[in-house]
Amino acid sequence: MSAVDISTTTLRDAVALETRPTRPSAVSTSLTFAWRALLKIKHVPEQLFDVLVSPVIFTLMFTYLFGGALAGSTDAYIQFLLPGILVQTIIIVTVYTGYTLNTDITKGVFDRFRSLPIWRPAPIVGALLGDTVRYTIASIMCIGLGLLIGFRPDGGVLGVVGGVALLLVFAFALSWIFTILGLLLRTPNAVMGVSMMVLMPLTFASNIFVDPSTMPSGLQAFVDINPVSHLVTAVRGLMGGVADTGDVVTVLISAVVMTAVFAPITMYLYRTRH
């Protein structure tokens, strides 16, 4: 295959570009990067494995192992657990944002992007947009399985969709933490390791699996300030049809704060990175 000859004429023609296009908008550039993220899913479908399998394992395991003991029956527990498992699943998937970013840097793809005359945050914003597709797939998996094994949300379709939407907003904001790790750490695996260390306490020391009222007071204090707990409460509320505006607003505010703090740090690191 390498025994090909480059035709000087076609090369000359290709180089002699007659009309130069105008520069695309920030939105169109970001969408191009989102398209790239989707192409990656198409070419490397293995990356969806975690997204598809972990919600199944967690939901089944927790429902049937602990459901009876914790809530009296698996049926009662799934109503409580499912929104929490959904939150946990999506939050764990956000780690891949940092992992993919770091892989791009390691492989030199990012320097190509940085050398382009484009809106600077576009590669990262686009990747995050592409990731929301991944989160949506994971949400559908998780809720679909829940419905099969007895999850009956009182909030109806609207409540469930609202819960997922709130979760996606939060995940987008949280991803900026992992983009920072992706830019700071040396290898994709280091990003994975450190991110998991951040996520473990955030997800387990929360109200995802059990009501925190039985926890020691120190832990309860942490659970209470843990933004993941607020998110879980809000999503439960929305899906259960008893949404508390206060919780939803708290989650939205924390999403805005996370984006306002971590997105500029990410962009600073992105610009000054060598």
Partner: protein
């Protein structure tokens, strides 16, 4: 804006330090460059000499710690965006996405540069055709051979037909045939009026392509000139001999020194002997073998080597090229995108 008569790329006093832990290394230590439009400039040096760092600063990927640089009249710091719109970059650290196909990679770049719809697709097929990648377009880049990989990298940096092209070690790791293809491509681009800054570890490559060559070592330019000027400073290359009888190496060395007038070096191999051909001494080479024959010294192997980067270094710095380990100071970090 650009002064039509000015150089396409100019740099004055470029400095870049890298700090890892407590140790600070001057990766680039005061580099001045002036590359006329429409020419090829070769930046020649060993691993870790600062070549990639210079290119990364000129391509706006790294901010210089001191000094200034302009590309087509645009300052690389103040006017970085204009520079990005005018240059193409190919190198180990500005790569394409291996998971995507060749077509998808180029389509993504075409869209990022502002081509829309069919215009983007047309541009991509033109480039695939020009780089003999049409058949491979629908395959993931990770399945490409080394030569194809380098061609898709080149195509990626030519989507917008940049007037200035930075090629960072474009042929490192390629087989001779693919290397020749890359050289041909560069010649076409320059014929077409592009300005090329090329970094390389190979004197031959700089010799083949570059109008002017600068030799860089420890972040400083230690020599600059045309290829023939540099070669003149190095001499005509070296004569390498291998003797039948190791015990007669001393005698052979005396004969060679008498003929060429330069002192032979004695490699660790006891049968080997080599000597630099003096400037304007090419005609003396033919006398070496007869002189050895007269002395009754059998020479089963004889070769005349072109001056190598090693010899350029030996001549310019008085020191041989640092070996792989020594050259990587302070670790590969400065050359890598960290």
């Amino acid at each position: 804006m650009r002064d039509a008569s000015g150089p396409a790329v100019e740099a004055a006093g470029l400095v870049k330090h890298f700090t890892s832990g407590k140790k600070t290394t001057k990766a680039v230590d005061g580099v001045d460059l002036s590359i006329p439009a429409g020419t090829v400039f070769g930046l020649l040096g060993p691993n870790g000499a600062g070549k990639t760092t210079v290119v990364r600063m000129l391509a706006t990927l790294l901010r210089p710690d001191a000094g200034t640089a302009r590309v087509l009249g645009h300052d690389v710091v103040q006017d970085a965006d204009a520079v990005r719109g005018a240059v193409g970059l190919t190198g180990q650290y500005a790569s394409v996405d291996e998971d995507l196909t060749g077509t998808e990679n180029l389509l993504m770049l075409a869209r990022l540069y502002g081509f829309r719809g069919t215009a983007a697709r047309t541009r991509v097929s033109e480039l695939l055709e020009a780089f003999s990648l049409t058949d491979a377009g629908s395959r993931q880049v990770k399945t490409y051979s080394g030569g194809m990989r380098r061609r898709i990298d080149l195509a990626a940096s030519l989507v917008l037909s940049p007037r200035v092209l930075f090629l960072d070690e474009p042929t490192t790791g390629l087989d001779p045939r693919s290397r020749n293809q890359v050289w041909d491509i560069v010649r076409v681009l320059v014929d077409d009026g592009a300005t090329v800054l090329l970094t390389t570890q190979y004197l031959e490559e700089a010799d083949q392509l570059a109008d002017r060559i600068a030799v860089i070592d420890h972040g400083r330019l230690i020599a600059e000139g045309t290829s023939s000027e540099l070669k003149r400073s190095v001499g005509q290359g070296a004569v390498d001999l291998r003797l039948a009888d190791a015990s007669r190496r001393g005698e052979a060395a005396d004969v060679v020194q008498r003929v060429l007038g330069t002192e032979p070096t004695l490699p660790t191999d006891p049968y080997a002997l080599s000597a630099r051909v003096p400037d304007d001494g090419a005609h003396l080479v033919a006398q070496v073998l007869p002189a050895l024959g007269e002395a009754g010294i059998a020479v089963p192997e004889f070769s005349l080597g072109q001056p190598s980067l090693d010899e350029v270094f030996l001549t310019l710095t008085g020191q041989p090229l640092p070996d792989e380990q020594g050259s990587e100071e302070p670790a590969p970090a400065p050359e890598v995108s960290r």
